[in-house]
């Protein structure tokens, strides 16, 4: 019975806080500029923000003023869907419908891609109070 007791006393997994996550609204960075290059996909440029003390000499040091990112495939599909109104739940529903994915598959992909876009400064996520 000792093995039974240790097994039974382990707490059951807590539920994911889906509701809060699904209500969050991803917003595209309005300062990202689309750069037409005639290729499929989308190239976006973001101005780099340097510390105040170095800004006057960034050109002198040859530092880049902007950084470019290329979006293709699912990342581009999600980015184009961001209008500042649709929340993460809407993005998940769209992926489920368009690609016949299960809820957790679509959720995993949306979170993964939004994380990448956030890391690159292309998207911010607002959580409603």
């Amino acid at each position: 019975m000792s093995s039974l007791r240790s097994k039974a006393e382990e707490p059951l997994p807590r539920s994911f806080d889906f509701a809060k996550q699904l209500a969050a609204v991803p917003v595209a960075n309005l300062k990202a500029r689309a750069i037409p290059d005639g290729e499929p996909g989308l190239t976006l440029a973001i101005d780099l923000n340097y510390p105040a003390w170095i800004r006057p000499i960034t050109r002198l040091l040859g530092l880049r003023g902007e950084k470019k990112y290329r979006l293709e495939g699912l990342g581009l599909e999600l980015y184009r869907f961001l209008d500042g109104k649709r929340n993460i739940g809407d993005l998940i529903e769209k992926l489920m419908e368009d690609h016949r994915l299960s809820f957790l598959e679509a959720r995993g992909l949306v979170i993964q891609y939004l994380g990448l876009l956030m890391k690159r400064g292309l998207v911010a996520v607002g959580v409603p109070k």
Partner: protein, 295 residues
């Protein structure tokens, strides 16, 4: 167990058991060991249940085990009641013995698998009459032994049948990208793969370039043909494989490999069966592993 094709979602078949799951349940935790392990299931709303298995040499006292599980859980919320009660009424549903008490309290169920001497247990986080009737009762009745010469392996949308000598060695369930690895213990290895979103994976290209990219750099493709699988467009590649470590990389034997990939356009999924081994004649037929291709 005779292989029969049916849709894979909502199905779980593992080492020695199989269940038809409620449609909206998805596995969020898994174990690959034969003797003991567990699966966790969530729906969109919440955690739905835990399935666990463990060895039991002889028929255990299932009502007592379930009651002890209930009592361990109850101790957290009401220690006095947990200490006072010595048993709970049980209910028999299909092969399962079920114990529950109050609404929204955990419900426990267990069945003994005589063929494999395994105790199979379910724990559901919140009991209600509706859940018991609509979700759990069909689940209990769907319980089947999975111990034939061909064993079913169904999880994360994959449904395949393999000879019993194959054992699962790895499972990588990424979103819309699931891989199951098997070995027969005699140098034969086999992988089952299922991808979602083929529109982006293929990007308008034919299947072979994508197929080649899935095999990695260690293989030398010796034959590549377009090969429909059932009614789906497909690709077959035969390849040779050499070791990747130390002297094996330099002097190792070139092994044989065969990979079949197909695009289920209705389901919007790509599937692949990749086999490697010392002799090409030992490879399994795709239609035997995926009987749904024959329908």
């Amino acid at each position: 167990m005779s292989p029969s094709p049916s849709p894979a979602p909502g199905r779980l078949a593992w080492w020695h058991f199989a269940f038809d799951l409620p449609a909206d349940w998805e596995a969020t935790g898994y174990a690959t060991r034969r003797d003991t392990g567990r699966f966790h299931f969530h729906s969109r709303e919440a955690f739905q249940g835990q399935l666990s298995w463990r060895p039991a040499a002889a028929q255990p006292d299932i009502p007592k085990i379930l009651f002890e599980s209930w009592r361990a859980e109850r101790r957290r919320s009401d220690p006095a009641e947990a200490a006072r009660l010595t048993s709970l009424p049980t209910q028999r549903i299909g092969p399962f013995t079920v114990v529950h008490r109050d609404r929204d309290e955990p419900c426990f169920a267990g069945a003994y698998n005589y063929a494999t001497h395994t105790l199979v247990e379910w724990i559901f986080p919140a009991y209600s009459k509706t859940r018991l009737a609509q979700d759990w009762t069909p689940l209990f009745h769907s319980f089947a032994l999975n111990d034939g010469k061909w064993r079913e392996w169904s999880v994360y949308g994959i449904r395949a049948f393999l000879p019993a000598e194959f054992s699962v060695e790895g499972l990588a369930p990424y979103p819309a990208n699931v891989r199951l690895d098997f070995s027969d213990g005699k140098k034969r290895r086999l992988s089952l793969h299922r991808w979602g979103i083929p529109a982006h994976l293929l990007s308008g290209r034919p299947l072979p370039p994508f197929h080649r990219s899935t095999l990695g750099k260690r293989v030398k493709v010796v034959e590549a043909v377009e090969s429909p699988m059932g009614r789906h467009p497909g690709s077959r590649m035969r390849f040779r494989l050499v070791g990747s470590k130390g002297f094996n990389k330099l002097l190792g034997r070139w092994w044989h490999g065969q990979s079949d990939l197909w695009h289920d356009t209705e389901e919007r999924r790509l599937y692949a069966l990749t086999q490697t081994g010392p002799r090409p004649g030992d490879f399994l037929e795709v239609g035997d592993v995926f009987p749904s291709l024959k329908s």
